[in-house]
């Protein structure tokens, strides 16, 4: 099964009288995620099932994703509400996914990185899942076995291998910017270098996907 883990886009800040669950995406959040969703749509994969948290910003993100990609059902999964713990979410996703071959889940931090950590058996502290990003995992058995992180993407639409990981604290931002002007390959190369630099030698290595052979 292919699982796409999607964090909602940028939402408005909370204000008086607005419950957290009612915060909508900002215009920028919508525009950016639309770009990501379109890049995803171009991959041509059909999402058999899109599951969203019931909170407004996630529902909007899920709908934008649905609008830009081929999809089957769009449903809500209560366990994607951030008040639930990752193990409960894992079980719920596995249960709802059933025989679906490709499933997207749209939700929140820190729950999603907790889920990714659980599924890929890495430390949650190493994961840096930005708003509006999409992570692809391959899972033989979502409920029981370790999943294999394949790639992730943001608004620029280029896919980066493995999980979205924390940059090292002092890593300069410049290389990432410079890479955007270069060829796809160069950007990829940069990204790989960054990813590699962020991984402690052994512990998180399987998360890159390359070393997994289950």
């Amino acid at each position: 099964m292919q699982l796409y883990v999607v964090r909602h886009g940028i939402a408005v800040e909370g204000s008086d009288g607005m419950p957290d669950g009612s915060r909508p995406l900002t215009e920028k959040g919508r525009r950016r995620f639309l770009r990501t969703a379109r890049a995803f749509g171009k991959l041509g994969r059909k999402l058999d099932l899109i599951l969203t948290s019931p909170l407004v910003r996630a529902v909007q993100t899920a709908e934008i994703l649905a609008g830009a990609s081929k999809h089957g059902k769009v449903g809500v999964l209560e366990e994607l509400d951030p008040k639930f713990e990752a193990p409960a979410l894992r079980a719920a996703v596995a249960g709802r996914a059933g025989k679906a071959g490709t499933v997207a889940v749209v939700g929140h931090e820190p729950q999603l990185s907790s889920l990714l950590a659980l599924l890929c058996e890495v430390s949650q502290a190493d994961i840096d899942l930005k708003k509006g990003s999409i992570v692809r995992l391959d899972a033989a058995d979502l409920a029981e076995e370790k999943s294999d992180a394949r790639w992730w993407m943001k608004a620029k639409g280029n896919r980066v291998k493995g999980l979205p990981l924390q940059k090292q604290a002092k890593a300069p931002r410049a290389p990432a910017k410079a890479a955007s002007g270069k060829s796809k390959r160069a950007a990829k190369h940069q990204a790989r270098k960054r990813t590699a630099a962020a991984i402690p030698p052994k512990a998180a290595r399987p998360a890159t996907g390359a070393a997994v052979s289950v």
Binding site: P24, P54, G67, G75, V76
Partner: protein
Amino acid sequence: MIRLYLVRHAVATEPGEGAPPDDALRALTARGRRRFRKNARAFAGLGEEVELICTSPVLRAVQTAELLAAAVGHDEVQVLEELRRSGGVGALLEKLSTLQVRSLALVGHRRLLKELAVVLSGIAVGQASRVRFKRGAIARIDVRKMSADSGAPRWWLAPSGKPLRDGLPLHDDSPG
């Protein structure tokens, strides 16, 4: 003049069998999505300009608002707590009068939309009970300001994608 588009959310899973018990977790059904997308496209085809889309924060309304936004190519959707099912017309009108827009779509729930339509257009009590907002219907009302008796219903689009009809969606107007 402000153009108001009242939009009732599309068909969602019913409470009870097979559906989540919590009202906030009721999502649009596949059929509800399909039909509303069609209706939203028909709406977009009219070329009506919508400056702002506002929705109730309830899931099925947010989904409907997003389908509408996609159809008209809109990139702003606001959430209004006042559009909740439990909301009152007074509070909603008060909120709406603070918005500086010339055209506005409101995505919400049956009772409140109906009450809003009745209050704005100041129609007779006998008529009011005939107003029937089907799920996924879109009705246009032109108002001078956001207060009672200041508007005139123009037309409405049935969720089935039938052509425009004049006035408000009334009971007798919808055979079958």
